[in-house]
């Protein structure tokens, strides 16, 4: 099967400039990253601010192009400017700040913005807008002003705006960083639904460990490198390593780990409350 996203030795360098605009130095945001995502997967990329995860996301949407190495999105090379629009149609992107990505003053008009840019005929735009808004559960709000929506609702509108372009893949770049817990849960739920029901490939970039629990595969980034990768269970089995990299572990995983260190017979990589309860009930 053809990869949805394939990065080989992907490198991105930024020039640091002084006040006169002369190059002072070069910082490496992505350092020879290899990554492969199959169609239909739900991938999570974890890391601190400045770890390079957002830079990676912007490459997948052709907002940035590699300094070195290659990135192929659904068979198309990101470095070739002729592919730019195709790639953006294939791999849509949702950003962190809900306010700064909604263009129109009415929800439905915003969702229609992408299809309009693609030159989709009017009748089909309406079908797409309806399908996209229903897909994220925001159809009843179609004629509302985005200003009166909650953060979670705004992000769902932003996701619908991408879905209306009928992409194969959605990249969510820290979509929950500015939301309250309710809003965070809403957005993550919608992302999983799109992945399961519509087979959309999802790349979720986040720094909340709790949000990666349901992913198929997790990459952990630091200083432009991928430092860990595996299934969530594999990743969360390596509690000491995660703590050493100053990443937080879900409270339940951490508790299970501490109990194990205190001598109890508890397996590694406990992700949910139910798992830990099952283990503890068996022990008693």
């Amino acid at each position: 099967m053809r990869s949805m996203i394939n990065a080989k030795q992907l490198t991105h360098e930024f020039f640091r400039r002084d006040e006169e605009g002369n190059v002072e130095g070069i910082s490496v945001a992505l350092d020879h990253v290899d990554l492969d995502v199959e169609p239909g997967q739900f991938i999570a990329i974890l890391g601190h601010n400045g770890s390079g995860k957002s830079t990676l996301a912007k490459h997948i949407n052709a907002l940035l192009t590699p300094s070195e190495g290659t990135l192929i999105v659904d068979g198309k090379d990101v470095s070739d400017p002729a592919n730019t629009l195709d790639i953006r149609e294939t791999a849509g992107m949702v950003f962190q700040n809900p306010d700064n990505q909604i263009i129109a003053t009415v929800v439905e008009e915003d969702v229609g913005f992408g299809p309009e840019n693609l030159g989709v005929p009017t009748d089909e735009i309406w079908q797409r807008v309806e399908a996209a808004l229903r897909g994220v559960g925001m159809w009843e709000y179609r004629s509302h002003s985005p200003n009166r929506l909650s953060g979670g609702q705004k992000q769902r509108v932003a996701i619908a705006g991408v879905m209306a372009m009928e992409p194969k893949c959605i990249i969510l770049d820290e979509p929950t960083a500015m939301l309250d817990p309710d809003g965070r849960a809403e957005v993550i739920r919608v992302a999983h639904e799109l992945n399961e029901k519509k087979g959309i490939t999802v790349i979720l970039i986040t720094h909340y460990m709790e949000e990666v629990v349901g992913a198929d595969y997790v990459y952990v980034m630091e200083k432009g490198h991928i430092i860990m990768d595996g299934t969530p269970t594999e990743i969360f089995s390596r509690v000491d390593e995660l703590i050493a990299h100053r990443l937080t572990v879900p409270q339940i995983t951490l508790l299970a780990h501490k109990l194990k260190m205190a001598g109890m017979d508890i397996p590694d990589g406990i992700l949910t409350r139910e798992e830990l309860i099952r283990v503890l009930c068996r022990l008693s």
């Binding site: 508790l255 309860i277 008693s284």
Partner: protein
């Protein structure tokens, strides 16, 4: 030293179609040196509540006393109150404006009428208190990383040496490392200076881990008020209002439901660990 709210009600846009009662008959006493967490949904009235503490919003009805003085008295010094009750808003780095971090931190003390020398001392102390690296003192605040900007902004409020520090979701938008560093810093600050600290937060785990007293707001009212153990023992009532309790509290409740003789209400990781070890060894 205390803040007392006596039957405070606040209504937005009185007399219009958008009239909203954001606070509904709130009575509270906040004592000197307390470390208080305020939790609740978006729209529960938390932000409206804290803006009453320093007089930025004026109650539609009810009274507020700061150290026994009615803050709505005509000769009460409201501007002075704002420097006594320091308020760090959400995303405080959005208020940075000076050419250097140091000058920005001096803004508050200068508004208090201090001399340049005094303001400089205050700024220096405040920046040290938030562990802000000295080599960035003369940097433009706009060139800092997210976590450093936040620290600089908090120092800007600390420099006024307020007796009470109110922080509205101080960790919002920071990465986990930045969040933990900041909460640890706030906790340490509370211990060392014994200043009253009021922390508005969405994270039940954080609140349980750090504060001594929790106030739960719901639909403009004080719904629960007590120690973390007391508040999080109301699992059902909190759930009904769509509020969660810390994950470990859920865990212990569920273990109890399955017939394991769990005692008390664990709200922190450590207390849960101790209790499980006690039960299983």
């Amino acid at each position: 030293m205390s803040i007392i709210l006596d039957h405070v009600t606040y209504t937005y846009s009185v007399g219009t179609a958008y009239e909203v009662r954001a606070l509904d008959d709130v009575s509270l006493k906040l004592d000197d040196g307390e470390f208080i967490g305020i939790i609740g949904h978006t729209g529960s009235g938390k932000s409206t509540l804290i803006q009453h503490f320093n007089g930025l919003l004026k109650a539609t009805s009810g009274a507020i006393y700061y150290n026994g003085q009615d803050i709505y008295d005509r000769d009460f010094d409201l501007k002075g109150l704002r420097t006594q009750v320091g308020m760090v808003f959400q995303y405080p780095e959005h208020q940075l404006f000076e050419t250097t971090v140091f000058e920005d931190v001096k803004y508050g003390p200068k508004n208090q009428g201090l001399t340049d020398k005094e303001a400089t001392n205050r700024a220096f102390d405040a920046l040290s208190a938030v562990n802000f690296p000295d080599e960035y003192f003369d940097q433009s605040p706009f060139e800092l990383s997210g976590g450093q900007k936040r620290r600089a902004a908090i120092a800007g409020v600390l420099a006024m040496e307020p007796a009470v520090l109110v922080l509205d979701e101080p960790t919002a938008g920071l990465d986990p490392k930045g969040q933990r560093d900041l909460l640890t810093l706030i906790k340490r600050m509370h211990k060392e200076t014994n200043r009253t600290i009021i922390l508005v937060s969405h994270s039940m785990e954080d609140v349980a881990e750090y504060v001594d007293r929790i106030i739960v707001m719901d639909e403009g009212r004080v719904f629960l008020d007590g120690t973390p153990e007391e508040v999080f023992s109301h699992v059902k009532e909190l759930e009904e209002r769509g509020l969660a309790v810390p994950q470990v509290t859920y865990l212990m409740e569920e273990l109890r439901a399955r017939g394991i003789p769990v005692e008390g209400h664990a709200t922190t990781l450590e207390s849960a660990k101790e209790e499980i070890l006690r039960l299983f060894n």
